[in-house]
């Protein structure tokens, strides 16, 4: 049921991308490819022409499934090639940022649930995080850590050093919704009738928090964590541009500048696919966490 729904969404996304590709006048694309500045050989142009002449809905969508997204209008190279160049960089960045975001969120939410004195301050942190423009945060971090304190070199430095600031820039806005939902779920679970019953058995607050409340607060948190995957990809556009990293995000920015529709659509389809698959996974994990949902 849920799998079918996910497939339906993907199919619709593919179709939408196809319609948008068709919306571009085909010949004008070919004219672009024939621009001598691209330096394509006649053989390559013939290949591209064959691809676009083959056309047709089934051909294109099946192509998407195989990873064949056509040719970049900007460089004349296959879109897949350009994607493959950027993907490892972005994957590294996004993974690290996601892990950091979750750590930050858990830290904030649990600290707020534990300490009644710092609670107000801690719960204000996510709203601040969510209000900060990522590009500005990146610039601010460069300013403080690279120029003022000189802790992270602007150019060069080890790979880890180069990752620190971008990861932080990407992680901060993403940690906010996770922290908010986790904190709210913790509060909400604490008001449930079974909590005083456990307390009446003689359990301490931390016993209740770790053994009962945390587990019950997990599903909504996981849902929102899944939803942030889309933001990871979108956020990498800004982060990679600010830090001058060559990944899928930077590729996207360049594609929009160059009116390179096939590349942008490939990124969109990729993002939608990742998003749908991650959220499908979240839904499939749910019954494990909450036995009420198991059949």
């Amino acid at each position: 049921m849920r799998v079918g729904q996910a497939l339906l969404v993907l199919w619709a996304a593919f179709t939408a991308a196809y319609i948008l590709l068709q919306a571009m006048p085909g010949d004008s694309i070919l004219i672009k490819f024939q621009n001598p500045e691209l330096g394509l050989s006649p053989q390559q142009i013939a290949e591209i022409r064959a691809y676009y002449d083959a056309g047709g809905y089934l051909h294109t969508v099946l192509g998407f499934l195989r990873g064949d997204f056509g040719y970049s209008v900007d460089t004349g190279t296959p879109v897949l090639e350009r994607l493959a160049e950027g993907l490892p960089e972005t994957a590294k960045l996004a993974t690290a940022a996601f892990v950091l975001a979750v750590l930050l969120a858990v830290l904030i939410a649990f600290a707020a649930s534990h300490s009644s004195r710092l609670r107000g301050v801690l719960l204000a942190v996510p709203s601040l995080f969510i209000s900060v423009p990522a590009f500005w945060l990146g610039i601010l971090l460069i300013q403080v850590f690279s120029f003022r304190l000189g802790l992270v070199p602007v150019i060069g430095g080890s790979e880890i050093q180069q990752l620190i600031l971008p990861v932080l820039t990407l992680a901060v806005p993403i940690s906010a919704p996770i922290a908010q939902v986790l904190a709210r779920s913790l509060d909400q679970v604490f008001t449930q009738p079974f909590v005083p019953v456990v307390a009446a058995k003689g359990a301490s607050r931390s016993w209740i928090l770790w053994r009962h409340v945390a587990r019950n607060a997990l599903p909504p948190t996981l849902t929102v964590a899944g939803l942030t995957f889309g933001e990871l990809i979108a956020g990498s556009v800004v982060t990679e541009t600010v830090f001058g990293r060559n990944g899928v995000g930077r590729l996207t920015e360049q594609a929009v500048n160059a009116q390179d529709t096939p590349v942008l659509l490939a990124v969109v389809v990729l993002a939608a696919t990742v998003f749908v698959l991650v959220n499908l996974l979240v839904d499939l994990v749910f019954p494990v966490l909450d036995p009420r949902l198991a059949r």
């Binding site: 079974f194 003689g202 301490s204 016993w207 587990r215 036995p291 009420r292």
Partner: protein, 505 residues
């Protein structure tokens, strides 16, 4: 010396004093019932005793030691070990994502009692003791796999795991069907006799309190109105409030049965109703007739199909087969009205009382603005609500007032049939008695026909002329109220009647 001695306890909630100097005591092995309506402070008192909501002042002596000012850390040693809690709502009182065996073992684990194998053995013993079949399988199940009654048994098992000297039971059966209710109360009584555990029962139901307890404590608005031996209090109540409670509690006021209905034509004719929900037969061949100007009750436990039947009669649900006729009604939505269980949910929170009562008049374009205004005032007067409430919103009214507004709205278009779906079940007994009186008076004055849906036999006995008993989608027995109550023919009817607490026989 008593086991528990509470002296002049005061507790407040967010600036409001909910308990204003309560004293009560529980002896070893004694069964004490604290009775009161909502807002009387009875649950707050219970929570203060185990320190879940600490009191402001007063003493709580447990075996002579004052624990009122103990820190949470010290109180934890007592909770579960010396005082056990059986909570109100079994459906939400267990952690939904933990196996029930683990939740019983938790009491032992917190107090570092035994090792893993001995704890497991004890859990199985307890499950068996509280009357669950196949303990090994039950221990591995999650709460949602058990029925309400079974969950309450699990909660009891967790509460008695360390054989506490006192069990505080806070409305332990009010969310359960009557037949299950009785079995749970029997279990608590058995355990008390076996272990010598004292019980402090908190309840709104004077019938249950009277049937089970050695001593009664009657509370109202944070104060103790009266306390003493149960027999003595019932025989000669000293406080006026206790007398009123006794008079209003339908279970205890053995009023005369209503006369059989006057011989009038039928106002509702229901024939062979069948309704399935995804393969499950909620209503299975239901037929009955209601005479004009009389009250017919549909009685049954949850899942019996009584509410579905009511919704089919009011056309909020379509039957798969069968028919409902309302002779003499041409415009259905004018002739038949429904009053809901929860008056708060059935009134639009953004509308004023005046707008709510006026709405049906606007729908049927009855009269101009001024005429409608007059009619609304007249209707409020009918249901004994002051005009001052006209511009109030539902949240500014009490539960009883809300239900009166709902009744006024139902009467606005002069219906012939009013279907009342558990219409008094959510109300306190004194308010309940007032609404029941109002309904009887309206019936006399306006010649209304009522279809009265209820799980509460005592209320049904008081208001209805005829009764149909429903079980698993079928009507198992029908007749006049007197026939059903005095000479029930069906086993299920007999079981239902036996479950009604009736101490004053």
């Amino acid at each position: 010396m008593s086991l528990l001695d509470v002296r002049d306890l005061r507790v407040s909630y967010g600036g409001h004093e909910a308990v204003k100097g309560v004293s009560l005591s529980v002896g070893e092995g004694e069964f004490v019932a604290v009775v009161g309506e909502s807002g009387s402070g009875k649950t707050t008192t219970a929570n203060a005793i185990i320190g879940l909501h600490p009191g402001d002042s007063g003493e709580i002596l447990l075996n002579g030691t004052d624990i009122a000012r103990w820190s949470q850390r010290r109180l934890r040693v007592i909770r579960g070990a010396q005082i056990g809690l059986v909570p109100q709502d079994p459906s939400n009182s267990l952690n939904p994502v933990k196996k029930v065996g683990a939740q019983i073992a938790e009491t032992l684990l917190i107090h570092r009692h035994g090792d893993k194998t001995s704890r497991r053995r004890r859990v199985l013993e307890l499950l068996e003791r509280v009357g669950l079949d196949d303990p090994a399988r039950r221990a591995g199940q999650y709460p949602h796999e058990l029925s309400g009654g079974m969950r309450q048994r699990v909660l009891i098992a967790a509460a008695i795991a360390l054989r506490p000297s006192l069990i505080i039971a806070d409305e332990p059966t009010s969310a359960l069907d009557v037949t299950v209710q009785r079995r749970i109360l029997d279990l608590i009584d058995d355990l008390r006799q076996e272990y010598g555990t004292a019980v402090l029962l908190v309840t709104h139901d004077l019938g249950i309190a009277a049937a089970r307890s050695d001593r009664l404590v009657v509370m109202r608005e944070g104060l103790v109105e009266e306390s003493g031996g149960t027999r003595e209090v019932l025989a000669a109540p000293a406080a006026a409030y206790t007398r009123r409670l006794l008079a209003d509690a339908p279970a205890l006021s053995a009023r005369a049965f209503k006369e059989p209905p006057p011989q009038a034509g039928p106002a509702i004719v229901v024939r062979d109703l069948v309704k399935e929900f995804g393969g499950f037969r909620a209503v299975d061949g239901v037929s009955f007739e209601v005479a004009r100007g009389s009250t017919h009750a549909l009685v049954g436990e949850s899942g019996s199909g009584k509410t579905t039947t009511a919704r089919i009669v009011t056309r909020f649900e379509k039957a798969d087969s069968g028919s409902v006729e309302i002779p003499g009604v041409t415009e259905f939505r004018r002739g038949v009205q429904l009053v809901y269980q929860n008056p708060y949910g059935s009134l639009d929170p953004r509308h004023s009382v005046a707008r709510i009562v006026e709405e049906p008049l606007r729908n049927f374009r009855l009269g101009d603005r001024a005429a409608r205004r007059t009619r609304v005032k007249e209707l409020l007067d009918r249901v004994a609500l002051p005009e001052a409430l006209l511009e109030r919103k539902p949240r500014e009214l009490s539960g009883g007032q809300r239900q009166r507004v709902a009744i006024a709205r139902a009467l606005a278009v002069e219906p012939q049939v009013v279907v009342l779906d558990e219409a008094v079940s959510a109300l306190d007994v004194t308010v309940q008695a007032q609404i029941l009186d109002l309904l009887e008076q309206l019936q006399r004055d306006l010649g209304l026909t009522y279809l009265f849906i209820s799980h509460d036999l005592a209320v049904v006995r008081q208001i209805s002329h005829t009764v149909s008993v429903m079980n698993k989608g079928r009507i198992v027995e029908s007749g006049t109220t007197q026939q059903i109550f005095d000479s029930p023919q069906d086993d299920y009817t007999r079981e239902l009647l036996a479950a009604v607490p009736e101490p004053v026989r």
